[in-house]
Structures are given as structure tokens and as C-alpha cells.
Subunit: 549 residues, 2 copies
């Protein structure tokens, strides 16, 4: 068959919800309709579009699998009924178990066309590292899929298939593909977009054809999918690129002579903008997908709660943010003013609940001192935050950052209270950096910078005893964060850390704190994953663990 003059693809970067098969189907139908109206012949959706991703142990529910299966059949028919029968619709879903001995389904790509499921392809490589548990819940496929549309030869792959060197790209290297279509559910990590494009350049070289990379967008529990879908060729030319952190549809047309045209090449975001957006989208989708309209958090006047409140205002509007100032006898006047200024800047509700009378009531009975008395203050605040959460139906936000969390420098059932922790994967130095970045953005747009300068520049303190500073208990944050980055992100052991030039005392202090904080971290609320190795799903140490390097 000779090639048509051109083959127009639509890249449909949508935001699905795990388990919401009906809503996901509706969204696929809408984007297919738009793609059709804009002249697309093929529309490509992300991995597991219909089921949502990642589905975790929902994979084992037969009812869920049956629902997804019948929805896929329905959808093919509805597309035809809606006049989109000529469109080839590439979607992901949970597939049928094909191994007799397995109760695990497949991670499957469907090509819908003319009212039918025309082709299916099952993911061959199932990631089981970091945040991924796919080997636990899926059974792998063993066959490649290629198909012809208007004389163009298409190959297919699903996400991890292209991250392994012996995947479909090598299997299809001799197939004379015109394009390799990949559907993905690739969670955001700082600077991961460059890793993805480098990888696709390699695969494009192997198949000697451009690679279409469609990624999902949106927050799902502690994962944030950044979208940023693209088309790239083996020389590294970006032929199309969609926006990050939002739904998007882009038309990319491949011509018979191998050239192509696109109606969008979105700009590349810098790291601060990416990370800030990841945190806001993670929170926004956690709220929306779990039915929360507003949030409550304690405003201490410190930088952490200021940044979290600002992110929350960006996610759901300042009018849906309740900021509670809960001063103790150790809170400075400056802190109280900073909290009030912040709330005013972002348009949040602001209420003051002094904890001193409550603290006195407890102390009247308990007579605590030392750390126990410090924790008591934090826990009284936790009770107040949860009281607002319960009585007004607000999502309580924990304001802890990754440096604190890593070192256990927080009070469990106190400041760690909450349903979601927007900055749990940001080191303290990054909290300062993003706060400055967010204020600069405001200035650029002629708005009032949300975060009071004083919250940024003052020395961090928990204000749980007179004159307390974080640096009494922890190394200075510049140093601490450097050690944490080497120990956690780079997995440097004790010997490596000493070779990195850190002094022995600091190394031993930080390693001891981090290794001992495991239990507290497991009880910490969900928050977005931003760096390569967040705490939580992608780092699993035993709690009872006597090993010391």
C-alpha cells in the first residue's frame, strides 16, 4: 500500500482518576472528538487511561477488570456512533489475564477503530523498583505489535518497555517503522524530562523513526505525573511538545517524505517552576479527586507553613484556605505578625487560637518537662488543626519538609498531623529557594509577594522553648541538606560520605537520625514525590533494623 501524503496524530495528554472508569471514558471520548474535529487520523492517550494509573491491588478485583473490559467495548461503539469510527484511538487499560496459572491481569494498550477493539498489546517489561510494583500485580506480555494505517507502519510500546534495552524498540529494529508510539505513566522527578528525551532519542535511533511519547498528567496519591508529552527524532529534534502539569492536546502530522509539522512546541520549564508546579498539582488533584474543597493548616510565621499556605492558595484559592495561628508563650511577636501578613497576602481565612491556656490545663495534670513538654505543645496544635478539619470538612495539611522528616525533627501526632504534606519531599534549602522564586513570580506579574521577607530570612525555630533554634539539634541546613542529598539521593554510605568531604561528626549524626526516624516517616501523611528518592514507597527499610554502617 502506498503512503498517504500525511498521517495526522493527536497526542492527548489527559488527567484520569484511578478507578473512575466512567469519568475516564467520558474524558477519552471528549478528547477523541476534539482530535477528530482537528483532523487527526490517530489519537494517542497515556498508559492505563481507562482504568487510571497506578491501580495497585485493584488489579486483583475481578469486578474492576470486568468493568474496564465492558467500558472499552462500549467506548469503541460510542466512538463510532459519535462519528469518530474512522479515527484510530490508542488507549491504555487493565487487560485480561492470559496466563492460566495467574490471577494477575495485563497492562494493555488497545487500538479502537470502527466500533471494534482492533488490536491489543500487552506491556512486556513490568517495573518493580522505586515506586513501581507492577511485577506484583501484572503478568507480562510476550509479543510485539505493529500495524499499518494509510500505508504508514506503526510500532507500539508501553512505558517501561522503552526503559529496558532489550524491549520493543530492539525487537522492531528491522521492521521499517515510520513511527514508534509509546504510552506512558511516568511520574514526575526533578529534571526527568531530559532523561525521557535522551531515552527516546536512543529508541528512535534503534527503530530509525520518530518516537511519540504520551505521558499522563495529574496527581495520584503521592505521585505527580507531569505530562510534557513529546515527539522526538533520532537526532534529538523535538518535533512536538505539550505543556507540563496540565491537560493538553497537540496535533503532530507525519508526512510521506519523513518530515513533520506540529501545532505546539511548549516551552521548557526551569527546575523551580517544575517543582513548584508539581507540588501545587499534587495537592490540587489530591483535593479534587478525594472530594475536598478547602484546607486548614497551622501558620507559625515560619517559612514552611508560609510556603505550604501559598501553594494551597494556588491550588484551591485563598478563600478556601484556613490558616490558624496557635501562639504559645514562646512564640515571638514577629512570628505572629508574619503569620498574619502571609494570610492577608494570600487572602486566606485567619484565626488565632492561643495554646497557652490548653497547655496549662494539661500541665496542671501531667507536669511534663523537657522534650515531653515540647511535644505537648505541638500535639495541642495538632488537636486544634484536626478540630477545624473535622468541623468544617477541610483537608488538614502537614507543613513538614524533607530535611525535618528525614531527621525525625518533628512531633508525631503534633506538627506531623494532616491528610497531605505538600512539601514533604522538599529539602529545607529548597523550601527557601521556592519561596523566593514564588515571590519573584508575583513581582513579575505585578502582584504582592505572598511570603513575608522576614519568614524567609529569620533563623528557623520550632519555638517550643525559650530561644530555641533548629541549629541546636541539627547541623546548619546548608550542610545538613548536602549530607542528606548524598546519603539519600546518591545512596552514599558512611565511607563515601567521608570521602565526599563531610566531617565524621556530622556524618554520624545525620546517619543516626535518618536511620532512626523510619517509624515516624511511615506514619507521615502522603505528599508529592519530587526527587528521585523520596521517602515512602520508593525507600523501604525495616523498622526493626540493627544495622549501622
Amino acid at each position: 500500500m502506498t503512503k498517504a501524503a500525511s498521517l495526522p496524530f493527536a497526542l492527548a495528554q489527559i488527567n484520569t482518576r484511578v478507578g473512575d472508569i466512567e469519568a475516564n471514558k467520558k474524558c477519552i471520548l471528549e478528547f477523541s472528538q476534539k482530535a477528530h474535529e482537528r483532523g487527526a487520523r490517530v489519537v494517542v492517550f497515556p498508559e492505563m487511561t481507562l482504568s487510571g494509573y497506578p491501580i495497585e491491588d485493584l488489579a486483583f478485583r475481578a469486578t474492576f477488570r470486568r468493568s474496564a473490559e465492558s467500558a472499552a467495548q462500549d467506548m469503541a461503539q460510542t466512538l463510532k456512533d459519535n462519528g469518530c469510527g474512522a479515527l484510530f484511538v490508542v488507549v491504555g487499560t487493565v487487560g485480561t489475564t492470559h496466563a492460566e496459572s495467574s490471577d494477575r491481569p495485563t497492562n494493555t494498550l488497545l487500538v479502537l477503530h470502527d466500533g471494534q477493539i482492533l488490536h491489543t498489546y500487552d506491556k512486556q517489561f513490568l517495573p518493580n523498583y522505586g515506586v513501581f510494583d507492577e511485577f506484583r500485580i501484572f503478568t507480562p506480555g510476550h509479543d510485539t505489535l505493529t500495524m499499518d494505517i494509510d500505508g504508514y507502519h506503526l510500532g507500539f510500546a508501553i512505558c517501561e518497555d522503552i526503559w529496558q534495552d532489550n524491549g520493543p524498540a530492539i525487537q522492531l529494529a528491522q521492521s521499517n517503522l515510520d513511527v514508534l508510539v509509546t504510552i506512558n505513566g511516568s511520574p514526575f522527578e526533578e529534571n526527568k524530562d531530559h532523561v525521557r528525551t535522551d531515552l527516546c532519542i536512543k529508541r528512535a535511533g534503534e527503530v530509525d523513526a520518530p518516537v511519540i511519547y504520551v505521558n499522563q498528567v495529574g496527581g495520584q496519591d503521592d505521585l505527580v505525573f507531569d505530562g510534557g508529552s513529546f515527539v522526538i527524532d533520532k537526532s534529538g529534534n523535538i518535533l512536538a511538545r505539550l505543556t507540563q502539569f496540565d491537560e493538553d492536546l497537540c496535533l503532530w502530522t507525519l508526512h510521506a517524505d519523513g518530515t513533520s509539522t506540529a501545532d505546539e512546541i511548549a516551552r521548557d520549564m526551569d527546575t523551580d517552576e517544575e517543582v513548584y508546579n508539581a507540588c501545587v498539582l499534587g495537592l490540587k488533584d489530591y483535593m479534587r479527586k478525594n472530594g475536598f474543597k478547602g484546607v486548614v493548616l497551622g501558620l507559625s510565621g515560619g517559612i514552611d507553613s508560609a510556603l505550604v499556605a501559598t501553594m494551597a492558595a494556588d491550588a484551591c484559592g485563598g478563600e478556601n484556605v484556613w490558616g490558624i495561628s496557635m501562639p504559645s508563650m514562646y512564640s515571638s511577636d514577629g512570628s505572629k505578625d508574619d503569620a498574619a501578613d502571609l494570610a492577608r497576602n494570600i487572602g486566606a481565612h485567619y484565626e488565632i487560637q492561643p495554646i497557652e491556656p490548653l497547655f496549662m490545663s494539661f500541665q496542671n495534670q501531667l507536669k511534663l518537662d523537657g522534650i515531653a513538654a515540647e511535644n505537648l505543645q505541638a500535639r495541642i496544635r495538632g488537636v486544634i488543626v484536626m478540630a477545624y478539619s473535622n468541623s468544617r470538612g477541610l483537608l488538614a495539611l502537614a507543613t513538614g519538609n524533607k530535611s525535618e522528616l528525614a531527621c525525625g525533627y518533628s512531633t508525631i501526632y503534633g506538627d506531623a498531623v494532616g491528610g497531605y504534606a505538600p512539601i514533604k519531599d522538599l529539602l529545607k534549602t529548597r523550601v527557601w529557594q521556592l519561596s523566593r522564586w514564588r515571590n519573584e513570580q508575583a513581582l513579575k506579574h505585578g502582584e504582592v509577594p505572598p511570603i513575608p521577607e522576614n519568614s524567609i530570612v529569620k533563623p528557623p525555630s520550632a519555638e517550643l522553648r525559650p530561644g530555641q533554634k533548629d541549629s541546636d539539634s541539627l547541623p546548619e541546613y546548608d550542610l545538613l541538606d548536602s549530607v542528606l542529598e548524598a546519603y539519600i539521593e546518591k545512596a552514599h554510605g558512611r565511607a563515601d560520605l567521608l570521602e565526599d568531604g563531610f566531617d565524621e561528626k556530622t556524618v554520624d549524626t545525620v546517619m543516626r537520625l535518618v536511620d532512626r526516624a523510619e517509624w515516624k516517616r511511615r506514619q507521615y501523611p502522603l505528599g508529592p514525590k519530587v526527587t528521585a528518592l523520596a521517602f515512602g514507597r520508593d525507600r523501604r527499610l525495616p523498622i526493626t533494623n540493627a544495622f549501622r554502617e
Copy 2:
């Protein structure tokens, strides 16, 4: 080589600690010495003896792997130096990575002899379901191991290897084995001992020789290993059996004519005794391995806290248990008396901290009503329990049972507060059953039954508002627990539950509660796994999940 008249094996069922390579080594040396003194030629230890099990992501730490490697070498030499060089010592450990492309090590069996590591065998089948994540952290072996000792032909396998039908037993079916030696880290589940023996009968048939099954014993986070090691033949004759829930050493001698003799065939425990022991050992080892000497918990006068306190007294002695009565304006006099009686019966410290004055202080500021006011009472109690924990270094125990936890019928940061939850995997009906069982045991031994009869017979109530009963919010526990068992343990979907004969209203209520409680359950403290499907590691649903059957 002709067979010696007999080959004496020692089964060494020991309690290791993850990461504590030195202590584990010491224990292996001691038990090897005892085995040698009792005339053993071969001593068999559990899976991953030297490293502890399960090691989770410690597998990725090069320093940990190197420590284990050098400890194994040392140990072989020390055995020889101690006069045990002639003994064949079968131990498990973390092995060296053999796949070039992998940073994952092996799960390995070593045979130590005459100062050397004589043989190694790498586990071929890596479980990745339920509580197991081995495919994530290990790389599989591909070779079988057999060896001759005194003319007897031995084959080897590690745990999951015998749970798969195409494992070493089939691979060695034609090898004329005299015995198949298996080393195991098989977590306790109700009635699992019969599953294990049935499995080993099958494998014994395949290799046409007895199977030695050595299992580890002890608590590790939420797993409890029950020991219960044994030797069995293809006809199902138990040739030796070690005790459950304790370290043990047993000599089993195989004779040249195929007969054998053993110095122990421990009795079979019934289910109540097994489950009670699992809960106590889980708590005891969690305390010991994490450095806690005592516990604190709220005593409400109800059955849950009564059973937990009794288990705690059995785990660490009543003198190390702090029971805090925290009556509110809604607590009945009966409840207060029951709490005091319980504390006296088990010899616990007993303190009374009324929460009414604290509640009034909060209400003076917050003016809450409804659920928010109920939760406030529970959270004040949580603060008090944690104050005792912090000021006295006590492990706080959460007293919630599986029925409550499944349905979200508890207050997060309130009664769910604690570092460990001893009955989190017991349904409420089982809580009553074990309480009666424990009282009967006391009577049998001429002791005072610890749990007041009134705590067992009165209708359960959270006592957070006047006249409140659990049955206001939940189906009656007999019914609730039947539905939970079908829904959770048997994974019955909605249609199956209706077919089971449950009415539609109950089914929908329970499913809705269970599906919505996911977030709260993730924040719940660790507790022992008792049933096939506990909440926690072996059930992983997305939190943002819109799927409803």
C-alpha cells in the same frame, strides 16, 4: 561411597534480628556448638539467618552486604577454631550479586565446613505477593545444589522454592536424594502449619525422601515467624517437630535403612493458643528489638484495651505496663471499675487522668459539636498517652481491633495513637474469643483470670456521647465480622457477598466503610499479621480510588 550407619541432623530454630549481623553470628555459633555437643553432623538454620529476614531495601546497601559476607567467612573459621570444623552448618544470608546488570543481591544458602564456605545455593523463586517483595530486592539463582555427607545425598531449597510446583523438588526428582533440606522464613498465619506440612508431603513425594523444614521464629515489625520446624515424609508422618513461638534445637537422625529417630515431637497448638502467642511474641520482639522496656496504653474498661494490656503483661511483665484510665463525662462507673480491676489482675501500674477539665478548656475556645467533639475526647486521650510515652520512654500501644480498623471506626491521632497495635489483625469476635481463652488458661493454672467478666459481656461502646453503642454506627459484630471475613480474606466482591446470603444494606454499608478507610489504615501503627490478608503490606489499594463495585 557407602552410607554411614546414620546421619544426625540438628534443626536450629533461632530468633534473629534484621541487620544485627554480629548478634546473629553469635547465636549461630552458640547453636552450632550445642548441636555439635549433642552429636549432630549437620545443623540447619532458617532462611537469611546471618542477615536477618526480611531485609527489605537494606539489600541495596553495599556496606551491609560486605558486612554479611565477611561475617560468613569469619564464622566458618570460628566454627573450626571452636572445634566444630567437622560439622556441616547450613545457614542463610544475603549473597553477592551475580548478574552483571543488576545491583540486586541473592538470597543465599551457605554450607560451612572445616573453616570454609563449602557450597552456596541461590534461591530460584522470589515471592512478590502478599507481604513479600523479593523480586524487588533480589536476583534469582538458576542452579540446584546437591551434596554428599557420609554417603547420604542431600538436596537444598529455600522457602518459596518449595511453594512453586516447578522448583528444586521437581528438578531433583531423579537425583536419589536421601533428604531434602529446606530453610525458611515463613510468617505466621492462622492454620498455616497444615499448609506447610501438606506442601512438604508433596515435595517429599517428588524427591522420594523426607523433607527437613527449618523455619525462623520471632517478631519483625508486623511479621511474626512461628517456628514450628519439622521433618516429614511422603506419607505424612511427622518425624520431628519443634515448638512454636520460641527458639528450639532438635536432633533428628536419619539411618542407613531409611528409618529415623528424633528427640522431640512438639505438640500441635490449637488456633486460639497460636494466635494469642503470635500477638504476644510480635509485641515482645518489637519491644526487645527496638529497645523498649515498658508500655503505656489507655484502659477504658472495654474488651480491646483489656486484652491488649493482658498481652502486654504476658510480653513484658505487669510491672512494666502503665494503664491509664482517662474517664470523660460519658464514662460509666462500671467502665472505671473494670479498668481498675484489670490493672490489678495483671499487676500493672494504674493511673487516672480525667479528661473533662481538658475537654472544657478546648471547648472554651473551639465550641465543637457532633463528631468533631467526639474526636476531640479521643485526641485528648492520645495526647496523654503520648505524654507518658515521651516522659517515661514507654512504647505506646494502640488498642484498635481489625473490625474497627477495617471500617475506619476509630479516631486518627486519638485512639489510633501508638507505636504498635497488638490486636490490629484480630476481628472483634476474635477479641472476645481470645479473652475468654486467656481467662480459661488462668483458671487452668490456678491464677486469677485477668480480664473482668463485665468487659467481656457488656455491649461495646466508645463512650464519646451519652448512651452511645458501637451498634449505632456499625452492624452487630457477629454479622460485621462475617462480612469482613468474606470481603477481605476471601476477596468476595459485591455479587459474591449477596450470594453468600448477606443483605444488600449490610453489604453496601460495610464495603463503603472499608473502601473509604484506606488513608486512616495507612497511618495506623504496625501490628502483628495473624490472618491471611491483614491490612498493611499485603493489601495495597490506591487512596485516591473512585472504583465502587
